[in-house]
């Protein structure tokens, strides 16, 4: 981990080198999974930090996304007299796209940055070296538990986000704008398919996003120069790289899963 690759000159080769290094780091992470089972308590502790502690932001954002979506759709659909379908459209857009994508973006900002900064500071204060000197593998003890925690937390957070968005849609559509409660739910249940929308749409996508965001966050933390400037840059890079990766991966996954 101490040795740093020689820096290539132009941006393209530099990015490719980063992606390559990130890929190799993923292999190291996965190889350390069996060893990290010893640190189950650490994984649970991280799950608390990245999962449970992200609940507030995910729930509040989910609620508002559902509310605004319903408000917009109601006005567009009322032109065609199709307001009864608005609940169903809210549900489909949230399950297929907004749920996993917005959750992942929020997750990168809330949990990814925290993980990068934490590991970066652990490196800067020699805590990672100290673990190595105490014969504790820092990849198995620090990196893998955070990676696994992100992997587990993301699908769960996505589900919470979707539920809150539907609730927000219901609040605006049924309670405020007066769509019939029965129509709202029956249209939704008729059109939402468990396999395409819930399993492929929410769970599979958010699992992939969780893996990518956690990998980037942990990788940036481990490879940052151990200075305050280095940690600042690494945190920024986590958000930028995660956002690009999430949106690009979303397109690829949608193309394959639809």
């Amino acid at each position: 981990m101490n040795a740093r690759a020689p820096q290539p000159r132009n941006v393209l080769t530099q990015s490719l080198a980063q992606i390559g290094a990130c890929g190799l780091f993923l292999l190291t992470l996965l190889a350390a999974v069996p060893r990290s089972f010893r640190y189950l308590r650490e994984t649970i502790r991280q799950l608390w930090f990245v999962g449970a502690m992200s609940l507030t932001i995910i729930m509040v954002c989910g609620l508002f996304v559902g509310m605004v979506l319903m408000l917009q759709l109601y006005h567009v659909l009322s032109i065609f007299g199709g307001t009864s379908a608005s609940g169903m459209v809210v549900a489909l857009s949230v399950y297929r796209e907004l749920g996993p994508v917005v959750t992942a973006l929020l997750f990168a900002g809330r949990a990814g940055t925290a993980v990068t900064a934490e590991i970066g500071l652990m490196r800067a204060t020699d805590q990672i070296s100290a673990m190595e000197m105490m014969a504790v593998d820092p990849v198995a003890y620090v990196a893998t538990p955070r990676f696994l925690a992100g992997l587990i937390a993301m699908p769960l957070l996505s589900c919470v986000f979707c539920a809150m968005a539907i609730f927000g849609g219901h609040l605006v559509g049924v309670t405020w704008l007066g769509i019939d409660n029965g129509t709202f739910w029956s249209n939704m249940t008729a059109q939402v398919d468990v396999h395409t929308d819930i399993i492929n749409g929410v769970l599979l996508k958010s699992l992939a996003f969780g893996a990518v965001v956690s990998l980037i966050a942990v990788f940036q933390g481990f490879t940052t120069p151990p200075t305050s400037e280095g940690v600042a840059y690494a945190t920024t890079r986590t958000v930028v790289a995660s956002s690009i990766a999430i949106l690009a991966l979303d397109f690829v996954l949608t193309a394959f899963l639809m």
């Binding site: 101490n2 020699d126 070296s129 100290a130 000197m133 105490m134 014969a135 504790v136 593998d137």
Partner: protein, 278 residues
């Protein structure tokens, strides 16, 4: 956990370094360095800042590998050990980091207990007693429940020392243990290093450039400069060996064999006066 059966029990040398060569970023840190660290003694490695004293400790513990040469610790070549063997070796080596490197998530007690919890399945009551014994040895049993950010620099270093000796290592490496301590804390650390060496026979390597402190504890002093051993011997007499290098280092003269100026090109040329000089 310390191995009682040693590969070469009669060998008076615990760490044997031969032909060590390291180049970092184009700069030669070690140039075919040969060095022996005697078993059961306190060896002090001195030298100006940037001579690679910390790098040497990292080589000995396998945190960093040299470009050439070999390091044998207790008869085993560090560079040839597998990951598991290296970790096994490190369990018998204590390392005191310059900035203590305590785990900030845990309190003092858990920091000292950390290696025990990771490598053993001892009952909780035994872990508790072992940790309290080590904390008592460094005089901080009463601070067991403080967090690392509540400790002064000297206390943090003593906690780190308690953590380093929790497995009763045969070798402790101290990286600049005297830096940034007030006179009282300095004497406490000196006393601890001496006690650990004299009572438990732990081989100690102290990297430092504070002569007064080193003279009080070291059995053997090694001076490094420009990647080589420039002098070694008894701490009381080493300052008087007559070489210009030791005279400058211990006399604290600003210029001499250790140059005041970092190597640079011609001064007049750089200022644009090259023509005028002719």
């Amino acid at each position: 956990m310390t191995e009682t059966v040693r590969a070469t029990p009669d060998d008076a040398t615990l760490v044997r370094i031969r032909g060590l060569t390291t180049v970092l970023g184009g700069k030669t840190i070690f140039d075919a360095l040969d060095l022996d660290i005697p078993r059961g003694k306190i060896t002090s490695i001195m030298g100006p800042s940037g001579t690679g004293k910390t790098t040497l400790l990292k080589h000995i513990t396998g945190q960093m590998y040299a470009d050439a040469g070999s390091i044998h610790v207790d008869g085993r070549n560090v560079a040839e050990l597998s990951r598991d063997e290296l970790y096994k070796l490190r369990e018998g080596v204590g390392y005191l980091f310059q900035n203590s490197a305590l785990l900030t998530d845990f309190d003092v007690f858990e920091n000292v207990a950390f290696p025990l919890r990771q490598h053993t399945r001892l009952p909780e009551v035994l872990i508790r007693n072992l940790v309290l014994m080590k904390l008592q040895a460094v005089g901080l049993r009463g601070a067991a429940r403080l967090m690392p950010n509540e400790l002064s620099g000297g206390m943090a270093r003593r906690v780190a020392l308690a953590r380093a000796i929790v497995f009763d290592p045969q070798l402790i490496l101290y990286d600049e243990p005297f830096v940034g301590l007030d006179p009282v804390a300095l004497n406490q650390v000196i006393k601890l290093i001496l006690t650990l060496n004299r009572t438990l026979g732990i081989t100690s390597v102290v990297v430092s450039h504070e002569l007064a402190a080193v003279q009080r504890i070291a059995d053997h002093v090694v001076l490094l400069s420009n990647g080589k051993v420039v002098a070694q011997g008894d701490p009381a007499t080493i300052a008087d060996d007559g070489s210009p290098w030791t005279r400058q280092f211990f006399g604290g003269e600003a210029d001499g064999p250790i140059p005041f100026r970092y190597p640079a090109g011609d001064y007049a040329t750089e200022l644009g006066f090259a023509g005028a000089a002719k």
